[in-house]
């Protein structure tokens, strides 16, 4: 009999509803007893097929049960919601206990700053390129307008590689700056050129708190028609402010590097004293951050770029100096002695 079915259904449903403890179970109960595929819905849909005599009673009872289900559902829902804070009170945690540690490494501070520098220049359309660390003397010096015995070579104490040609020359070295990448790029491509080249460089130098024999530089080069010193200033001004903060003053002064003319030194106002003069800036109020200039016509001519048609600017900067300034690190040797107590601070 259908009526019996309804009663059975009802008692089972109320039984189960009593056992429901959370909203997920409640939803399952609703689908089972009140959903489109539930027995009750099917009974209600099939009323038309019942004999007329039964139809009335079954219909009435089924609707009654449906309403009772809905009412109980609403009531249960309410009680579940009210019950929620109670369970939390019962399970009070000592939230000050340490959390489950997930091992996390860090990138070396040099890598972090290199990424930052490359990102800034990428945003200005510079492509990241790389060149060899063991280099020919030609690329490191000669092609950069520093022939043998050029006095500027003294600025670059060189580590030479133990390799001699048949003529007795020793033409291989560890690059003393990233500038040879300029030549390699210009040899292989034609203007427009806009690249930056990060990498390791080496010097024959005794180490102390401010000198390392191995360090990183980032080189930049832009060559095209109509590139001017004003573009150099704009690009490096933008870079300095993105790296050191929008409020920084940036100073451009005349300086000398054999492979540029005019030559430029870029400095920012001292991060410690703000320009008043202190030990960090040697009382000058300024901190040099990079060397730059317009690519020397001799350098362009050597790579078959006509200096009457094209011009360009180049710049180079020491990398470790930047985190040293930013974090007040007073000893460059910390970078490559790899003490984790140092590295994990970044």
């Amino acid at each position: 009999m259908v009526l019996n079915q309804i009663e059975e259904l009802a008692s089972r449903a109320f039984d189960e509803l009593g056992k429901v403890t959370n909203s997920r179970e409640l939803e399952a109960w609703r689908v089972h007893y009140l959903g489109r595929k539930s027995n009750l819905t099917q009974i209600l849909r099939s009323l038309a097929t019942l004999p007329l005599g039964e139809r009335c009673g079954v219909g009435a009872r089924a609707n009654e049960v449906k309403e009772a289900f809905e009412a109980s559902l609403a009531e249960k829902k309410k009680s579940l919601e009210q019950g929620l804070p109670l369970s939390l009170q019962r399970e009070s945690l000592d939230v000050t206990l340490p959390g489950q540690q997930v091992l996390l490494g860090r990138l070396h501070p040099t890598t972090q700053i290199l990424d930052e520098i490359c990102d800034i220049f990428s945003g200005m359309g510079f492509q990241v390129v790389e060149g060899p660390e063991a280099e020919w003397e030609y690329y490191n010096f000669e092609a950069l307008n520093m022939p043998v015995d050029h006095p500027a070579r003294d600025m670059f104490a060189t580590l030479w590689i133990d390799f001699e040609t048949e003529a007795g020359d020793r033409p291989m070295l560890l690059r003393t700056h990233t500038s040879p990448v300029q030549i390699r790029v210009m040899e292989k491509s034609h203007p427009p050129i806009r690249v930056i080249a990060p990498g390791r460089v080496y010097r024959y130098e005794a180490t102390d708190a401010t000198h390392e024999w191995m360090f990183y530089q980032v080189e930049g080069l832009a060559v095209d028609k109509n590139i001017t010193l004003a573009d150099l200033k704009g690009t490096l001004f933008e870079f300095a402010r993105r790296l050191f903060g929008g409020g920084r003053k940036v100073r451009f002064r005349c300086d000398y590097f054999p492979f540029v003319e005019p030559g430029v030194e870029v400095a920012i106002d001292c991060l410690v004293c703000g320009g008043a003069g202190c030990r960090l800036c040697g009382n000058s109020g300024w901190i040099e951050i990079l060397g730059a200039g317009m690519v020397h016509p001799e350098v362009l001519r050597r790579v078959d770029i006509d200096p009457e048609v094209y011009s360009g600017f180049a710049f180079g900067m020491g990398v470790e100096r930047i985190p040293m300034l930013r974090y007040g690190i007073d000893d460059i040797r910390l970078f490559y002695s790899n003490d984790l107590r140092f590295l994990r601070q970044f």
């Binding site: 200005m124 063991a134 028609k225 590139i227 573009d231 030559g263």
Partner: protein, 801 residues
């Protein structure tokens, strides 16, 4: 270089405040490092004259000095041994700030009563004035010092410490700096005029000069003075040399130094009496030839060194240092002054090979003007004449085989604009260049000038050089800042960069700290990498001039650097150390630059951190390390497989090749115990090494998109019994390669009770998936049966009941 502002102001009026002048010079390329003011604290200190010296009634070693100060005379007690009536001295009134001669502290002078005599004031030593450390007696001023004048007016000065760039040897001189000041301020330049009387006797009758190596000595000038009296220089000259950091010697040598500082031309004074055969010969040194230099050291020379010689022997190392035999002494009466131009390279190389440099060599090696020797020689001759009381032989010697003609340079406003990005009109351009001493002539075009470079500017050779001159004098600040407006170049993809980024970020997420280690290492370090100490495999590349044995070779692997860092950090970290480095290794290539191979190396210490309150972390074993590789390859959407390997540095039987697409790209394994020991590791460690150049072609290949499954998958678990020695990889491959199989995961390995002797049980969860339809049980049953049949046939595996 140090420049006295007092001296500088003899050549150019200094109207700007010091700070402003320093800033303008710095901005224009002549960097002022430091400004030192001499006499800034000299208040209440004046010039006085000692009018009488009397004995102290109560002390033998003290005396009473009466000092005339113009307006008054004061008597003070003084212990100095060099009190002399008539001397001009420095007198400090009560209230002056002085340096205490004993403690070095700054004190304020108070009235004193010394052994019963009141003493208000003091006669000072150089130390008390803060000028030098001399304290053995009072400072004696020159007789012309004006009585009563404040000392700061008479002796005060400011010293600029300048950084001169190597292209500007002309600025290694007071006149050079004066020229810069003129250009920057527009104030007129006064160069001293030189004229002096000469003897009847011509210099040719005294000496001749022959240049045998004209390529190394383009010009040699000389003058000669007879009847000189060698004596100390007057005080003004000594003071100037002191202020510029040089030591006064005598009136002859001091003049050569003075003129070097004034004009930038090094000079040398020979005792003519020591020159044998009346002849100066400029030649290369003989191999093994010796000379004793002014510093008393005997030097062994070679053919690459240029010497000044007489008929018999070398008497000076050209441009570097004079010889002891012809040194000017108190007995010297005839002087030959040399003013020459030497090839910069020969001086540079000579200075390096002799490990000897001097003020002279530092100037010559930067390349000096060939017009300078004569100008400086005349000036030196005049000064020496004035100070030494001799006579000058008539004429000068001037041997000039290297005479050059300098071509004018054309400069147009368009060229200036093209490089600077700013319009500078012709009149402005010409004004700036003329202030710097350039000659400017009109050309056919009104926007172009023909520029003649002044003789002292050896650094100006092309248009760009002139553009810099214009820019630095009008000031870089007046150039606008613009952004690059040209079209962007074509951007090439850099797969290595993106590979590196992915590997780095994944390793960092897996708990690895990145380190960067030196590219140079020692043979000892490399030999620690194998159990039997020897250099592994590759021949390392040697540095010709290493700074130490620790930095003698280019690394051929990253292992040693990383293991040293691990060992060092184990001393203060409590375990759980994971490190990696991505960097270049250097491999020898025949007659070419080394091959620079980029490697990834990672190490995991098996030393575990202390217990956590949530329980101990699992052990670090081979499979932890292997999991790292699998994580990395998963990041790159690659599948790595492994094959047992023999790597000398790794534990036999606990190492494997890492294989991607059938190519060996690296190794993984536990360190060989002897290697751990050699590096002094506390516990064993696991090592991962990947050759990025080999990995790159696989990592870079683009993967095609796979549609996400539209039909439900079906999961089945099976447990297989196989022989103990069976290798997992083979079973996995058979299952994975079967149709409909999407994923296979091993979830249990068991041997022991309930498993027959010599067998092990492997449990797999297999996920079946079809891209075209919903799978049926029958379909999956059939595939799984085929799998089991194949496993049984090929590997003898049976389904575990």
């Amino acid at each position: 270089m140090k420049v006295s502002l007092k001296w500088l102001s003899e050549y150019v009026d200094i109207t700007a405040p010091l700070e402003k002048l320093a800033e303008r010079l710095t901005m224009a390329g002549v960097e002022v490092n430091e400004t030192q003011v001499i006499g800034a604290g000299w208040e209440n200190i004046v010039v006085g004259k000692i009018v009488s010296v009397d004995a102290h009634p109560n002390a033998d070693r003290l005396r009473l000095a009466t000092v005339d100060l113009g307006k008054q005379q004061i008597t003070v007690v003084c212990g100095a041994p060099n009190l002399a009536v008539g001397d001009k001295v420095v007198f400090a009134y009560v209230g002056a700030q002085l340096v205490d001669g004993h403690t070095g502290e700054i004190i304020q002078l108070k009235p004193a009563n010394i052994r019963g005599i009141a003493s208000e004031g003091m006669v000072c030593s150089e130390k008390e004035l803060g000028i030098s450390d001399r304290h053995e007696g009072i400072m004696v001023l020159s007789p012309e010092a004006p009585i009563g004048a404040p000392l700061s007016e008479y002796l005060g000065d400011a010293i600029f410490d300048l950084d001169i760039t190597p292209n500007r040897p002309d600025c290694l001189s007071v006149i050079g700096i004066a020229r810069e000041v003129t250009a920057l301020t527009g104030n007129k330049l006064h160069i001293p005029e030189v004229h002096y009387g000469e003897l009847e006797d011509a210099i040719d009758s005294f000496a001749s000069v022959e240049i045998i190596a004209p390529d190394l000595c383009p010009r040699y000038c000389a003058s000669l003075l007879t009847g000189v009296k060698v004596a100390p220089s007057p005080q003004w000259l000594q003071q100037r040399l002191f202020a510029c950091g040089m030591r006064p010697i005598n009136n002859i040598v001091d003049v050569t130094n003075y003129v070097m500082l004034e004009y930038g031309q090094p000079l040398h004074a020979f005792d003519y009496g020591g020159i044998r055969g009346k002849q100066i010969i400029v030649r290369r040194a003989g191999e093994g030839e010796t000379i004793t230099t002014l510093d008393g050291v005997e030097r062994i020379l070679n053919q690459n060194i240029l010497v000044i010689a007489d008929k018999e022997r070398a008497i000076a190392i050209a441009g570097i240092m004079g010889g002891l035999d012809t040194e000017v002494t108190d007995d010297t009466t005839t002087i030959l002054i040399e003013s020459a131009n030497f090839n910069q390279a020969v001086i540079h190389r000579g200075s390096i090979s002799l490990r000897l440099s001097s003020e002279a060599s530092l100037r010559f090696e930067k390349g000096l003007s060939r017009d300078l020797p004569l100008v400086a020689l005349k000036r030196a001759t005049q000064l020496m004449l004035e100070l030494s009381g001799g006579k000058v032989a008539r004429g000068l010697i001037d041997v000039y085989p290297g005479k050059q003609q300098r071509e004018p340079i054309l400069l147009s406003t368009a060229q200036v604009k093209r490089l600077l990005g700013i319009e500078v009109d012709v009149s402005e351009m010409v004004k700036v260049l003329r202030l710097l001493g350039f000659g400017c002539e009109q050309t056919e075009s009104s926007s172009q000038v023909r520029v003649n470079v002044p003789w002292w500017r050896t650094d100006i050779n092309c248009t760009a050089d002139l553009v810099e001159e214009v820019a630095r004098i009008i000031g870089y600040d007046s150039i606008p800042t613009t952004m690059l407006s040209a079209p962007l170049p074509i951007h090439k993809s850099m797969p290595m960069l993106s590979l590196r980024h992915k590997l780095r970020s994944t390793l960092v997420s897996c708990g690895f700290q990145e380190v960067l280690t030196y590219s140079l290492t020692s043979s000892e370090m490399m030999s620690k990498l194998s159990p039997e100490p020897h250099l592994m495999g590759l021949t390392p590349i040697k540095v010709a001039n290493p700074m130490s044995r620790e930095q003698e070779y280019l690394r051929t692997s990253l292992r040693a650097g990383l293991l040293s860092v691990l060992a060092r950090n184990e001393r203060y970290m409590e375990g759980g150390i994971r490190l990696f480095e991505i960097g270049k290794t250097f491999l020898l290539q025949e007659k070419d630059l080394p091959q620079e191979r980029e490697m990834l190396c990672a190490v995991l210490s098996s030393l575990q951190p202390e217990l956590s309150w949530q329980g101990k972390a699992g052990p670090v074993d081979f499979f932890v390390a292997k999991g790292i590789i699998e994580t990395l390859s998963s990041r790159l959407k690659l599948v790595a497989s492994f094959e047992a390997s023999e790597d000398e540095g790794l534990y036999p039987g606990r190492s494997a090749h890492i294989i991607i697409d059938n190519k060996k790209i690296g190794v993984i394994g536990e360190l060989h115990p002897k290697v751990s020991e050699a590096f002094e590791l506390t516990e064993s460690a696991y090592l991962i090494e990947i050759d990025l150049e080999r990995l790159l072609p696989h990592a870079a290949s683009p993967k095609k998109y796979q549609p996400t499954p539209r039909y439900p998958s079906m999961i089945r678990d099976i447990a297989l019994l196989v022989d103990e020695q069976r290798i997992y990889q083979q079973i996995h491959t058979i299952i994975q390669d079967s149709p409909l199989v999407d994923q296979v995961a091993l979830f249990d390995v068991y041997s022991g009770e309930q498993v027959p002797e010599g067998k092990k049980s492997l449990a797999f969860r297999i996920t079946y998936q079809s891209a075209t339809h919903t799978l049926t049980d029958e379909e999956v049953d059939e595939v799984q049966q085929q799998i089991l049949d194949r496993l049984s046939r090929e590997l003898g595996a049976t389904l575990r009941a």
